[in-house]
Symmetry: C2
Subunit: 187 residues, 2 copies
């Protein structure tokens, strides 16, 4: 479990008691490539930490498969809009590689907030950082061209091309695969 707590430490220190408490509500899972870690339709009650592999959050808009976001090793993934609203999510989490994840039971985690202020603070900071990323993504989608967004993505995740089919990248950028092909063609 060390990679997880190394990740946590970047945000907020935890007492040993807090670490033990988090471990008690966490389990390790291995999921095969292409399989759903969480299917579309349920309320999000689990926060995942990816130890190895990668995943995407996806949903359907008019029968078209849309990728909302990617997550790589040593990152947290959760369907925030469901986790914090209690509403069922129209989104699912699919593994893009055979992966090993740590599943943290969010219902129990939120209960720990009362006993362990450092845990509440830790996740506050983690999600604040996620919030910042999301705000920056809005800026990108709002007024950067598809080509700029593609270049930005390559900058941020240089190895994404080796790991993710272009159709998912296209959907993530908000364009069609055909459009992405065109952008890539004009080298």
């Amino acid at each position: 479990m060390t990679p997880l707590f190394r990740f946590f430490e970047q945000y907020n220190p935890l007492t040993d008691a807090a670490k033990t408490a988090i471990q008690a509500i966490s389990t390790t899972q291995t999921i095969k490539k292409g399989h759903d870690l969480q299917p579309i339709g349920h309320t999000c009650r689990t926060i995942y930490f990816i130890q190895k592999g990668m995943a995407r959050i996806y949903y359907y808009k008019d029968d078209v498969d849309i990728t909302e976001s990617f997550a790589f090793e040593n990152q947290i993934i959760a369907r925030v809009e469901s986790l914090f609203s209690g509403k069922a999510s129209r989104k699912g989490i699919q593994m893009l590689e055979t992966s090993e994840v740590i599943a943290i039971n969010a219902t129990q985690l939120f209960r720990l907030y009362d006993t362990f202020p450092d845990i509440e603070r830790l996740f506050r900071k983690i999600f604040e950082a996620g919030y910042v990323e999301t705000v920056n993504r809005i800026e990108s989608l709002q007024f950067h061209s598809a080509e700029e967004r593609y270049r930005d993505l390559l900058q941020t995740s240089p190895n994404i091309l080796q790991r993710v089919p272009l159709k998912h990248i296209a959907a993530y950028l908000g364009i069609t695969p055909v459009s992405l092909s065109r952008i890539r063609a004009q080298h």
Copy 2:
């Protein structure tokens, strides 16, 4: 100050001591229409509650004025990407109407988190809700047409047309004013 605490109560109850502590780091300001509540370039160290009036967060992309978001009375407004990262913001807050706001000193607020867990929890929940909204906005920008986004906006803020120039609405939707005019023309 009651509207502010009424707003807070929707998210998390506060002890009287906590309320007093928040009041001690808050001041009321009146800003004229068109003026900047916060100029572009500084690190965001203030969280505002709009008692009366409205505002927008804006920035420049290639000399074009972009509206990132609007905020109306009884809402919080802050440049989140700067507040939580400590980096200077390329964004400013401009009042779209002569407004009355409550300015909460964020530096002092974050210090209160250590003494008043209920305050930390309150703002955690407020920003979690903001995070959810932002995630939903991504979905809208990623794969809804400009016309859909316009209709959605009217649904959410029916009176926005009476309060905000169309050029800002266009920028918010991620299109040019000319494009918005066209969408509106085809009734």
